[in-house]
């Protein structure tokens, strides 16, 4: 290929637009009784992080002198009430088309080639594979994050705006693969695909997830990232909107696009950790690790520069990945590279 990706300014708007997720406490058997969950500040004693000197360890008197150095911390906490056994999370997800049109682009070669490439993908694939994976992640309630662990039952109620509710038993859908087959799931996936292909002007999905976690159990809203030193005496600040504990929209989006099973090492038990979120370098924040490195030519930029100019990638999976990054959106111009 003689042509070069000449777009120095290149940006795509995200096509999956989640809202924040609001957290409520309720009961499994009577969901009409619903209360927003509030954050409560909690005092905790910090642990002495470094090991104590032996002399100190055995002498409560000396230890106490150490203790006099104040180490009291306040953290935000969130929990169901004594009479609530079920956590409800609700959010909306908007699905948009137009992945063939960058929101900003200045490369003549790129502009001449990319829209055709994207339209060919839409024509051949119809976004069915990606839509199915997004739908599974709506059905399996992955976006509950830690709130999902240990729940006895999880039910997801989805409304796509046509008056018919789709109800999923989240535990019937794996977090590890996307092989599920189910009529309602196909319906949901079909609508998502329609919106991504531009056959619908847009799709607004409202999602309500109910997790039976047990009475008074702890709940995990998003943690706030305070820039600078403005935390006061709090060491953990959780997210709330108008007094209701919440999950950040970014967090919900990250869970829904956790569909990448195509990264190098996915099938290797020693490396793979199941599906990861669609990211340009396959980065997983929790692990501080990038699974798609430029060294392996598996990162988005290596693949996209070829794909956008009409070169065939070595397999369909890589095309799915590239298109999924564009659905995610972002700034991908040359200056956006490291």
């Amino acid at each position: 290929m003689a042509a070069k990706n000449d777009a120095t300014v290149l940006a795509f708007e995200k096509k999956l637009v989640p809202s924040d997720g609001y957290l409520y406490g309720t009961t499994w058997n009577d969901r009409s009784n619903l209360k927003p969950l509030a954050l409560t500040p909690k005092s905790v004693r910090g642990t002495i992080s470094n090991r104590l000197k032996p002399a100190l360890q055995n002498d409560p008197l000396k230890l106490n002198a150490e203790v006099e150095k104040p180490n009291l911390q306040t953290v935000d906490a969130c929990a169901l009430a004594e009479d609530q056994d079920t956590l409800k999370l609700s959010f909306t997800l908007k699905v948009l088309g137009g992945v063939d049109k960058p929101s900003a682009c200045n490369g003549p070669n790129f502009n001449a080639s990319y829209p055709g490439v994207a339209q060919a993908y839409i024509e051949q694939e119809g976004f069915t594979e990606l839509a199915k994976r997004y739908a599974v992640n709506i059905a399996n309630a992955r976006y509950l994050w830690r709130n999902r662990v240990g729940a006895e039952k999880i039910e997801v109620v989805v409304d796509t705006g046509d008056g018919e509710q789709l109800v999923f038993d989240a535990k019937q859908f794996s977090l590890r693969d996307f092989n599920a087959a189910n009529m309602d799931l196909q319906k949901l996936a079909g609508k998502i695909a329609d919106a991504l292909c531009g056959r619908l002007p847009y799709l607004l999905i409202s999602v309500e997830a109910y997790a039976l976690v047990g009475k008074a159990q702890e709940v995990y809203p998003s943690e706030e990232l305070i820039l600078g030193n403005g935390k006061g005496d709090k060491s953990k600040i959780l997210y709330a909107v108008n007094g209701t504990a919440a999950l950040h929209s970014q967090k919900i989006g990250n869970a829904i696009r956790t569909i990448d099973t195509w990264y190098p090492g996915h099938d290797d038990g020693a490396i793979g950790i199941g599906p990861i979120a669609i990211e340009p370098y396959g980065a997983v924040t929790n692990l501080g690790k990038a699974f798609r490195t430029p060294k392996d030519k598996a990162d988005f930029y290596s693949l996209f520069d070829r794909f956008a100019l009409g070169e065939k990638l070595s397999n369909k999976d890589q095309e799915h990945y590239v298109m999924a990054v564009l659905v995610r959106g972002g700034v991908f111009g040359q200056s956006g590279k490291e």
């Binding site: 909306t92 900003a104 200045n106 403005g230 709090k234």
Partner: protein, 300 residues
């Protein structure tokens, strides 16, 4: 005179850019709002509504939730950030201090070139497009169906009825004349003039019994805010490497910041007090958003 106005009621926006100006955070800059209106007009024209012109816009803010945090005992607020994805080595890139806000606004947009036969088509196109757009860099979560109103400017009642639709909220009006006055009468430079109106003066007074009372005051009443309203070109028109759009000439520019005021809609009497319009002064290389009322007051 009758005027046609388009009401976009209760637009809920998530994670909008809260840079009011290059130096301040708060309500998104006026350039962002008129930019959105202009994008809407371009879309309508692409959809075949080629005569439609959106010539001015008022904005009323119903809810504003700036993503900052002030811990107990902190002197200042801190920005609540979002983490960027890890880099190619799995390392954490530097945090970028980008102020964000969630807000709910209503927009009142002056409509010209509107043919009543096209009402349904216009409304349908708008309702669809509004959900697909971004405003001030934020995502639209929800919006109520648009309304097209006709008001007779000579009939106070009809203007009032429409302005009431912007309640409960605060409408942003231009107060550039305050700065002009201080610069002219007191010989202050523009930045000092701006700061004069924003700073809070604490004064103490002692009565004959020796009792001290403190009072806090601003230079002028009202909820005055600094707001970016446009750009001052600082280079010739030309071409630059890697410019955003090869088909449009490029010019380096600086932000123009002035004073605005948030006012309750019931205190507004004239539509031109609240409708902001684009104004290009090519002699002075100024690209501005302004209200006709302020422009008339100043006489430019």
């Amino acid at each position: 005179m009758t005027r046609r106005l388009l009401l976009i009621p209760h637009l809920q926006i998530h994670n909008a850019n809260a840079m009011s100006s290059p130096y301040t955070i708060g309500f998104p800059a006026m350039t962002a709002w008129l930019g959105g209106v202009h994008a809407l007009q371009r879309h309508l024209r692409q959809q075949g509504l080629t005569d439609i012109e959106l010539t001015g816009a008022a904005i009323s803010c119903h809810r504003f939730d700036l993503q900052t945090h002030k811990g107990q005992g902190d002197f200042v607020h801190s920005i609540v950030g979002t983490a960027n994805p890890l880099d190619k080595d799995g390392g954490r890139p530097a945090f970028v201090e980008e102020a964000r806000c969630h807000l709910e606004v209503s927009l009142l947009i002056e409509l010209q070139g509107f043919d009543t036969d096209e009402r349904e088509r216009l409304e349908a196109t708008l309702n669809q497009q509004l959900c697909r757009m971004k405003w001030a860099g934020g995502d639209v979560l929800a919006v109520k169906p648009v309304e097209i109103h006709t008001v007779d400017e000579d009939d106070d009642h009809s203007v009032r009825k429409l302005l009431n639709r912007l309640m409960l909220g605060y409408v942003l009006v231009e107060r550039r004349e305050l700065m002009v006055q201080v610069m002219r009468d007191e010989g202050r430079d523009a930045l000092d003039a701006l700061l004069d109106f924003l700073k809070l003066m604490h004064r103490s007074e002692q009565d004959e019994n020796g009792k001290v009372t403190w009072s806090s005051q601003r230079k002028a009443p009202g909820w005055l805010v600094p707001i970016a309203v446009g750009f001052q070109g600082i280079s010739e028109l030309g071409q630059a490497a890697n410019q955003r759009d090869l088909g449009t000439p490029h010019r380096f520019a600086e932000s123009v910041v002035t004073l605005g005021e948030f006012k309750m809609p019931y205190r507004i009497t004239n539509l031109d007090d609240v409708l902001w319009q684009y104004h290009a002064d090519t002699e002075r290389n100024l690209y501005l958003c302004r209200t006709l009322t302020a422009a008339n007051l100043i006489g430019d």
